[in-house]
Symmetry: C2
Subunit: 439 residues, 2 copies
């Protein structure tokens, strides 16, 4: 019984608990899962497979997992930068969303995001936005894996004009998508503790919990948010959310830039995971999340790019690079974070944060075959002493050659097989023209 | 009299003082210089040219200028990361240099660096290393432009076993290369105030000045260095160097992470330029250079990647991205640096810092034709509201399609025309194998 597909002639970076690297390795795929892994000596014959992909001496890694995105915001990439946060949000982003995000543009922006993610080696993401049904449809069509959260906010929002129906709307989305695709897990994304009432937060979290879905929420992104929470609730955001019973294993807290030692202990005790978004936190001038103490306390840490309006790309290789360097300089200590820790965060860490740690995030027998092949022949990857160092400090999304999700080849020799890229780009440019014209 | 070459169908980012951007623009080249620039309306005929390059609706920019490199260190890319600075330097880098840097490896590493720089859109660099004659030879062969500094240090160094002869050795290099190539300007690079005596510093600076060459030196990279200077000289590094008469318009101070307000005023008053290397300062945990106050004080600011052992690539697009975000988060202010300022730093700023501000660094008639074409059809550059925003926040070196230096096409459709890339990569891997074997 041959395997369906064999990736060979590769240095395999497993991202397993021991961060094993296999020289001259192969990965065999059967029925969409990883069926065998190993080194090959020169006399070993390659196992039998219906299809073979020669990695050309490059690196095979688990697909990167982006733990925080707002996919349709690709359409706002570079629309406004370098502004004070309040102006950026209230004068540009919120009006742009109100005017331009509808089912069609959400679908288009999400397809553009999938194209970008796949071509840069991300095979799975955790999204939170409006028109989640359109986002889910796009991601499913692209062949990617994702947790897709329907946005909940106590204001009129794209697709949810009446905020009183926001939780009900999210529940309907989860019910419609539960079990529809093995690759798509529906979820609920509350925007934040300061844009949702206690009642909304409780109802949304209960709705997610009852349905076995992930509950996502932005937490302590800025220092102002913490001040506001203290003023309004007499508590910092984490104890406030804890008091509402929101924290737990199915909760993903995004950002957590301004969490103190006690809050870190609470996150760890509740087994609430954190999505670390260093580029976005830097670009918006929000601050540096205490990733080292959170890691020391045992908080599950994933990594995300955030939306394209505040990054401005979805390249998880760039995100790893930024993360590794940011914490070193922030702590004035080059040992603060190392390449293995950061690679772990962007693969198995994100997978665990999304509740998918047993299915993806590392190359281990039995896991789904979400795999990427890196072409290491470019000058900027020459020489290669350590593929893990290169993944964090030298590779970019542009070095990704082939991408598999669930054992299916979605990118081959840098060409997207699952999508009509030209049409997506033309459509996206059309929306951009309208955005520029109508403001 | 037709032009030699016309780049057309492009959005031209000039990086001139007004940061003008020309929609549907063209750039005409004659005798290696920029001879005409302009927008074309649909009825304007394209000017006559012997050769045409259709930019395909992409971006044409000045080639990026890397204000601080140690080219042969590409051979140590990723050899050691995440170590305390002292161990990294004394246990890995210095021994590796002593054992493995000779004329052949220096030439090979420099060729590898040129290949990487050209393919990622850097057309000019400011180097400081040993075996500078071999580095200059490699850069000249690659067709790039550079200021090449011979390293001076009061210890035995590659090619300079007797430190007593270090300044004489550098003088010989400058004399040999002065006027030899229009693209190569020889220079002297003193490693630092803590590895060179006052006598060495004065002699090296005088030697550079007499010969009209740039004098480069690492200054205040770490807080420890400042403490040591205070202890040894009773002064911080900038006043110490100023007292020696080293600062001036031909001096390029590299790093300047730990300079106080008074030192910033001194640098501005002496018209001493600073090469800002954010990635290296982050990766080594050195600190964040006060780029905003330095800019406010009128210090000429260039940008550099530093060597590949502490970055780990020479991609100036990545460097711009890092710089723009780093100062925002460091100052908790998203307006701290904007895309135009950062792009200026990596082009005309670096050119001025190297004494080449009248020849390169922007697209202006009369300047040398160091130009790059960016392919903007990728999903991560879609849509494009502002090419300047994209240059800083979304592009990577991998988006560079064509590269011209001095009007000569060195990269066309992502293929290096001036070098045998396969041989360079094979040779570099050979050196890496020896480095791993011999330690």
């Amino acid at each position: 019984m041959p395997f369906d597909l064999i990736l060979h002639n590769a240095t395999v970076v497993t991202a397993n608990d021991a961060m094993e690297v296999i020289e001259n390795g192969f990965v065999a795929v059967k029925d969409g899962a990883i069926a065998a892994i190993g080194p090959l000596s020169e006399k070993d014959p390659l196992p039998a497979g219906k299809e073979r992909i020669d990695a050309g001496g490059g690196v095979v890694m688990p697909g990167l997992v982006n733990a925080h995105t707002h996919l349709p915001m690709t359409l706002f990439r570079g629309l406004a930068d370098d502004l004070p946060l309040e102006r950026w949000l209230h004068e540009v982003m919120f009006p742009a969303e109100a005017t331009h995000i509808d089912p069609d543009s959400a679908r288009c922006g999400a397809l553009l995001a999938c194209a970008e993610m796949l071509l840069s080696g991300t095979t799975c993401c955790c999204d939170g936005y409006f028109h989640a049904d359109c986002v889910a449809e796009a991601v499913d069509k692209a062949g990617m894996r994702a947790v897709i959260g329907q946005g909940v906010i106590d204001f009129p929002a794209p697709g949810v004009p009446d905020p009183k129906k926001n939780v009900r709307h999210a529940a309907t989305f989860v019910d419609q998508w539960k079990g529809r695709s093995e690759r798509i897990l529906p979820s609920i994304f509350c925007h934040s503790p300061y844009t949702c009432s206690a009642e909304t937060l409780r109802a949304a979290a209960a709705t997610a919990r009852e349905r076995g879905g992930l509950f996502q929420i932005h937490v302590s992104e800025t220092a102002q948010e913490v001040q506001q929470s203290l003023k309004q609730h007499g508590q910092r955001p984490v104890p406030y959310l804890d008091g509402l019973g929101l924290l737990g294993e199915n909760c993903l807290a995004v950002h957590c830039v301004w969490v103190d030692e006690e809050e870190i202990q609470t996150l760890a005790a509740r087994r609430t995971a954190v999505a670390h978004c260093p580029s976005s936190n830097m670009k918006l001038g929000s601050g540096v999340a205490p990733v080292v103490p959170m890691g020391d306390a045992g908080v599950v840490l994933g990594m995300g790019t955030d939306g394209c309006a505040s990054n401005n790309t979805l390249d998880m290789f760039r995100e790893m690079n930024t993360a590794a360097k940011l914490h070193k300089v922030h702590r004035l200590d080059p040992t603060a974070t190392d390449a293995e820790t950061v690679l772990g965060m962007a693969t198995i860490g994100s997978a665990r944060a999304m509740g998918l740690g047993d299915r993806i995030g590392s190359i281990e027998v039995g896991k789904r075959a979400d795999l990427i092949v890196i072409d290491t022949t470019a000058p900027h990857l020459t020489p290669m002493y350590s593929p893990v160092s290169h993944a964090v400090y030298a590779m970019t999304g542009g070095d990704v050659r082939d991408v598999l999700v669930d054992g299916r080849v979605l990118v081959r020799n840098r060409v997207l097989l699952s999508m009509d890229l030209e049409k997506i780009i033309a459509d996206s440019r059309g929306y951009a023209q309208r955005i520029v014209r109508r403001g």
